[in-house]
Amino acid sequence: MRENLHRFFRAARGVGVHVSPAESIDAMRAVAQVGISDRAVLRDALLLTLAKSQDEKLALGDCFDLFFSQPEPRQDQPEAGEDDAPQDSGQPPSSGAPSDAGEGQPPEGLGPLAQMLLSQDRNTIAAAIASASGAASLSDIRYSTQRGIFSSRILDAMGLQRLRDDLDGLTATNPSLAERLRAALDALREAVRDTVSQGLALYAREEAENLRNEILRNAPLARIERRQVAEMRALIRQIAHRLRERYSKPRKRQRRGHLDVRRTLRRNAAWGGVPFLTAWKRKHRDRPKIVALCDVSGSVAQVSDFFLLLIHSLHEVVDDVRSFAFSSHLIEVSRILESKSPEEAMSEIMSKVGFGSSDYGSSLLDFEKEFMSTLTPHTTVIVLGDARSNNLDPRADILRRISDRSKRLVWLNPEGRLAWGFGDSEMPRYATFCTVVRQCATAHQLERAVSDIVATYQ
C-alpha cells in the first residue's frame, strides 16, 4: 500500500497539488490511523492532509477517483475490480465459455499467463497488470509517444513470450482453446493499453506542464503565437499571484510592538521618569506609487500588454498605479485596465492610440503638459518601450525633468542590449536620465523587473 500511496503523491503533484515530503509523511500517518478499508474515509483523510485550498481539494478528489479506479493489486477485496471497465470489456467474448469451462481445467503445461487468462479470474489478472506496471515503472511515463513502449514492456513483464509459445502449441493441438486464449489476449492488450493511458493521464501531467511553462517563461513576449496568448495570460496571473504573496505584507507598522525606551523616558521626564505614558517603536514605509508609460506601437505592444496586465493585477500590493499608453500621442489608460477584462482593455487601448508610428518626443510632451503633477518624490516611473523614435526629436530633456521629480525612473526595453543605439534607437540618450535600464523581453525578465521595483518599497 505504501508503494501505491507514493505513486498517488506523484499523481497528486501532476494535478498541481504541492506535496512536500513533510506532507507525504503526514498523509502516511493519517492513513495509518484511518486504515484503508473505507474508501470514503481514506479519500477524506488524504484530502485533509494534502490539499491546501478548495481548488486543490477538487483537483485532488478527481485525481483520487481516477487513481483508485485502476485495479488494485489486492486480492482480499472482491469488489476491487468492479468499476474496472477494461476488464469488463474482456468478459463478453468469452462469456459463453464458463459453462463448458467446467468440463476441465486448462490443459497442463501452459504458462502461468495462459492459465490465468483461461481461468477468467479478473482480480488475479488485474493484480498481475498492476504489478507488471510497477515492474515496468509506469509512473515514469512522460509523453504520449511512450504509450507503445510501456504497453509492450508491461506485456513482456507479464510473460507474453511464454503465452505466444503456448498459443503456437495449442493451435496445433487444441484449436478451440487457442481461439479462446487469443480472444482473452486481445482483451488483455486492451486492458493494458487502458492502464497505460490512465498512467499517462496521472503521471505525465506534471512534467508536461512544467516543461511548457518553462519554455513559455523564457519565450520572447513579442513573438508569442496567438494560441499561446491565453496560456501566457495564465502564467502572468501566476506571476502576479506570486508577487502578491511576497509583497502584500501590510505596510502599517506604526503600531504597538516594542517599547521605545528613549522616547518613553523623554516623554515622562516631567514625572521624574515614572512612565505614565508609553511610547512605541515605529517604522515608516512609503506606499508604492507607480506611473507606467507604455509604448503600444507594433512590436512592443504585446510586451506592454502583459506588463500592464501584471501591474494592474498587483493592486493589492501597489495601490496607486497610473498607466499611460502612447505611440504617437499619449493617453491615460488606468481606468480602462481596471474596469475591463484584459482582452477588451487591450483592444480598446489599441483602437485609441495603437498602431501609430512611435514618437517619443511628442508623447513625452503630452505627459509633461497634462500629467506632470502625478509625479511625487515617492513615485517610481516605469517606461516600457524600445526607444525607437523614427528619427524624431527624442526630447530627452523632458525625461530628465521626469527623473528629477520622481523617486526612480526605470526603463524596460524589450530589445536586447546589442540593438540599443543602433538605427533610430535613442536608448543611450535616454539611459543617462534613468535610474535603471534593463532588458525585458520574456515573462521571466518581466517578473524580475516588477519584483525589483516593488521590493524597493518594502
Binding site: 490511523q33 484511518v34 486504515g35 485550498s53
Partner: protein
C-alpha cells in the same frame, strides 16, 4: 483491526459533537479524529456562518476542556497574542526598590563591584513574575489541555502567521529571556479563515485543511432540528428547501447556516405552520443582509416556495 477502530472512532466523534448540538458531516468528524490522532491543528475555511467557530466550541464542550480564543485582527502582534512584559510594573518596581537597591549596592567599593552585584539582581525583573501571558501562552500552560481557537487568522498580518509556526508544529514558544516554554498537554488547535487573503504555505502545511461549505439539505435539516427543536417537520423541510433555492441565486452574501437557524427561530416565534409568500417576504431580511439581495430575491419568492413544497412531497 485498526480500520475497524478508526471508523468506530470517527462515529464516536460524530455522536460526541452531536450531543453538543453540533451536527458534523463525515469529513468534519474525520478531520477532528485525525487532528487528535496525529496532533495537528485544523485549518477550517469556508464562508461566514457555516459553523467554523461553533466547531471549536463543540469540541471543547464535548471533551470537557477549556476553550481559549484568540480573535485575530490587523495589527495583532506577539505582545497581544503570546506574552508581554509588564513594562509599567517593571519600571514601577525599580522606582519603589530604589532605596533597597541603594542598600544592596552600598557595600560595593568600586563601580565594577556594584555592577557585578547588580547583575545578580538583573534577572529578577525578567522572570515569570513580570510576564503577562496572552492566549497562546495560556493555552500552552493549561495542565489539562484545552481547545485553542485562533479565529479569523486571515485578518491578521503575514508576520503573525510566522509567529504561529513554532506553536503549531511543536506546541512550544520561545521567550528570549526565559527560554522555551513547551505545552504541558498539547492543545487541540483550530484555526478559522474566511479566505480574505491567501495564507502562507508554511502555515497551511502544518495544518489539516478542512473546508466547510454549505451543508446538504438533509444535514441542514438535522442541524435545524437540533438547534431549534420547536419547529415542525414540514416547516423545517420547506424552509431548508427554500434556502437551498435562494443559494442558487447570484447574491452578494448567500444565507448560511447561522441565518437558517435565525430564520427558523423567527418562524417559530411568529408561529408559522408553513411557508407562504406573505411571511417569507416579511422575514426575508433575516436571511439576506443586503438591500440589493432582498430586491433580487423578492420576485422569486413564490416560485421558490412552490419548488420547495414540491421537493418536499418527493423527499
Amino acid at each position: 483491526m485498526a480500520d475497524q477502530k478508526a471508523s468506530t472512532s470517527i462515529e464516536a466523534v460524530e455522536s460526541g459533537l452531536a450531543a453538543q448540538g453540533y451536527i458534523a458531516s463525515r469529513q468534519i468528524a474525520t478531520a477532528v479524529y485525525l487532528s487528535q490522532q496525529i496532533e495537528k491543528p485544523i485549518l477550517v475555511e469556508g464562508p461566514a456562518g457555516v459553523g467554523k467557530t461553533e466547531l471549536a466550541k463543540a469540541i471543547a464542550a464535548w471533551r470537557g476542556m477549556k476553550m481559549i480564543r484568540l480573535q485575530c485582527y490587523e495589527g495583532l502582534d506577539e505582545a497581544k497574542a503570546l506574552y508581554e512584559w509588564k513594562y509599567a510594573k517593571q519600571l514601577l518596581y525599580t522606582q519603589i526598590l530604589k532605596d533597597k537597591l541603594g542598600e544592596v549596592l552600598g557595600g560595593a567599593q568600586t563601580l565594577h563591584a556594584a555592577l557585578d552585584q547588580l547583575h545578580d539582581f538583573g534577572d529578577v525583573f525578567f522572570s515569570k513574575e513580570f510576564v503577562e501571558p496572552r492566549p497562546l501562552l495560556q493555552a500552552l500552560e493549561q495542565p489539562g489541555g484545552c481547545v485553542l481557537l485562533i479565529d479569523e487568522i486571515d485578518k491578521s498580518d503575514a508576520e503573525f502567521e510566522s509567529l504561529l509556526l513554532e506553536i503549531l508544529s511543536d506546541f512550544q514558544v520561545t521567550i528570549p529571556e526565559l527560554g522555551t516554554v513547551s505545552a504541558i498537554t498539547p492543545p487541540t488547535v483550530i484555526l478559522t479563515s474566511n479566505s480574505e487573503r491567501d495564507l502562507g504555505d508554511a502555515l497551511k502545511r502544518r495544518c489539516l485543511h478542512l473546508h466547510i461549505g454549505f451543508p446538504e439539505q438533509r444535514l441542514e435539516e438535522r442541524i435545524v432540528e437540533s438547534r431549534v427543536p420547536g419547529i415542525s417537520q414540514t416547516l423545517r423541510r420547506q424552509m431548508v428547501g427554500f434556502i437551498h433555492e435562494i443559494r442558487s441565486l447570484d447574491l452578494k452574501k448567500l444565507p448560511s447556516v447561522s441565518e437558517t437557524i435565525d430564520w427558523a427561530r423567527v418562524l417559530v416565534l411568529l408561529q408559522a405552520s408553513e411557508l407562504d409568500t406573505e411571511i417569507v417576504k416579511d422575514t426575508l431580511n433575516v436571511l439576506l443582509k443586503y438591500e440589493t439581495d432582498i430586491e433580487a430575491a423578492a420576485p422569486q419568492v413564490t416560485t421558490f416556495i412552490a419548488k420547495a413544497a414540491r421537493s418536499n412531497v418527493f423527499g
